[in-house]
Subunit: 333 residues, 2 copies
């Protein structure tokens, strides 16, 4: 690896890295420098099966190398990752057969580029925190409110990955003991069973019990009930939809308050498709009601800066920063 | 400060530090070396008022210095502490008037000893983790089940204190949204409102609604209902007491499972007066039911080694280790 680093050491901040975000439905890729995207992002659908995915990754890397000399490649992937070995330890249902892939070694062998592989939620948190200039903070937590809830923990600018690479599985904080909602993970009453898009739909279904179509249009939607319909109904003044959205804010606040009491963060970064429906002032108020004042009074909540590019930016920046660290402790070069 | 360090640098592991644990009712003090107590501990009642407390601390330091040359003094105290300045930022009701005390400067000025001041739960966690030889682990969390629930987070052998010195306030994780129990902190449904000694008594009171003295002796106790009576009744086969103790284990497990999903720890250290009533096998089973397998399968739960001396041992060890670190980065000496 040393020879890959040595020649470009002093000006490596100028040389971008390739960042790739591999999700269940799409792959995003681009060039990354100083925690920013510095090329037009490329988006392709995720092919089926590990071999086709790897071929697609190599094609993307080749095509991005046509544009610029690159320092390395960072790949954010769904699933549990050991970033030291770059191996996929556990896959998600979205990427069947991906578990066990020695991704770092494969990419490094085929491209001769320094490669870093990271869990996608972790990479996104890393990207957001550094893009926002928050790397000097003691603790910044990213909370991604989407179909589920994901997250990442950045301590003093570095990723906290946990003892078994499962740190920051914050969607599975438990926020109720009523055994009322089954989570997709198999557990009961996880935060994401309430605070995600799926959670909001479930909240509306609960409120709809015994309610007729004359009372709310949502009662007639059946299987077509979804987040967009709920948001639209609330905008039209539908009382039940508005009540559900208020409860949704309470549900988000409960999980965040628990995070506050464990880690006492400086800041949250709030991201994901559901975060655009969050009223930040209401959320802060509900969070302050549920959190010790010493923590709540000084807490900041930042909206996402990078949006859907957070994973690829974080992955690209990780390979740049990792090299700098290895150099600074005198291992490489 | 440098001259205090320089002369004893090479053999400072041999020279003990004074460790003091200042609580609301008692002060414990002793000599500490290699994360162990190396003298008979001294116990005195906590005097009333900051001036009397400081006088008592100075007397203890003087008397322990008669025994041995000491390297410094570490003080664990209730309340929120800034360990960099050694100032008490927030007091507990147990130590009225203590807030604002510049404890480190006062002790250092009067004794010419290197002084470190730390929150008592943090100091206890530090003591336990290093006494158990777990300082090399990615994450060890101490959970102290007492009248309330306290805790501390040790990452790679170092204390994690949070952005506002309020990290590890794990007793205030919220584990229910029913607004059913008011916590002493003013919030609702905190973990410690269920998983502490007070929580167990509240659980029994809930179960006793509509239950007569013929059904359980506990129904006749009124204000005399307490943890000891509940444990005794369960040992005698009282069904209601046994059910409450089972629920107590569930309550403890719920909070621990949330901690697992945030930090993915290697190990827990379980301490405090209530921990002696915990059936570790039952707790592990209930925790596994509520935690992602990747985390639960590899998790260890250790009982406390140091017992009530954890705070003083941790405080003493902190002053020893802090000096070593300062030295190693070339600031002192």
């Amino acid at each position: 690896m040393d020879n890959l680093v040595a020649s470009n050491n002093t000006d490596k901040h100028m040389i971008p890295a390739i960042g790739i975000d591999l999700g269940g439905t799409k792959i995003l890729a681009g060039l990354v420098s100083n925690s920013k995207l510095v090329s037009k992002p490329i988006r392709i659908p995720t092919p089926k099966g590990p071999e086709n995915i790897i071929k697609a990754l190599l094609d993307l890397i080749n095509s991005l190398q046509q544009e610029r000399i690159v320092f390395g490649v960072g790949i954010a992937t769904a699933g549990i990752v050991n970033p030291e070995t770059g191996e996929i330890l556990g896959a998600t249902g979205n990427l069947p057969g991906w578990e066990g892939t020695a991704l770092k070694h494969i990419i490094q062998d085929k491209t001769a580029l320094r490669t870093h592989v990271e869990n996608d939620a972790n990479a996104a948190a890393y990207g957001e925190v550094h893009a926002a200039g928050l790397g000097y903070k003691t603790c910044v937590m990213m909370v991604t409110l989407g179909t589920g809830i994901g997250g990442g923990v950045i301590l003093n600018g570095k990723l906290y990955r946990g003892a078994h690479f499962a740190g920051g599985e914050i969607g599975h904080l438990r926020i109720s003991m009523n055994n009322e909602r089954h989570c997709t993970c198999g557990l009961w009453d996880c935060w994401e069973a309430f605070g995600s898009g799926r959670g909001l739909v479930a909240t509306v279904r609960n409120l709809l019990v015994g309610v007729s179509e004359e009372q709310t249009r949502l009662a007639g939607l059946g299987d077509k009930l979804n987040v967009e319909e709920i948001i639209k109904a609330a905008a039209e003044g539908d009382i039940l939809a508005k009540r559900a959205i208020f409860q949704y804010h309470e549900h988000v606040a409960v999980g965040m308050s628990s995070l506050c009491h464990v880690l006492d963060p400086d800041s949250f970064v709030l991201a994901g498709g559901m975060s655009k429906f969050v009223d930040l002032n209401l959320l802060k108020e509900l969070l302050a009601d549920r959190t010790l004042p010493r923590i709540a009074e000084r807490l900041e909540i930042h909206p996402s800066i990078l949006g859907e590019n957070a994973g690829l930016v974080g992955a690209g920046q990780l390979v740049l920063d990792e090299a700098r660290e290895v150099k600074s402790v005198g291992v490489a070069g």
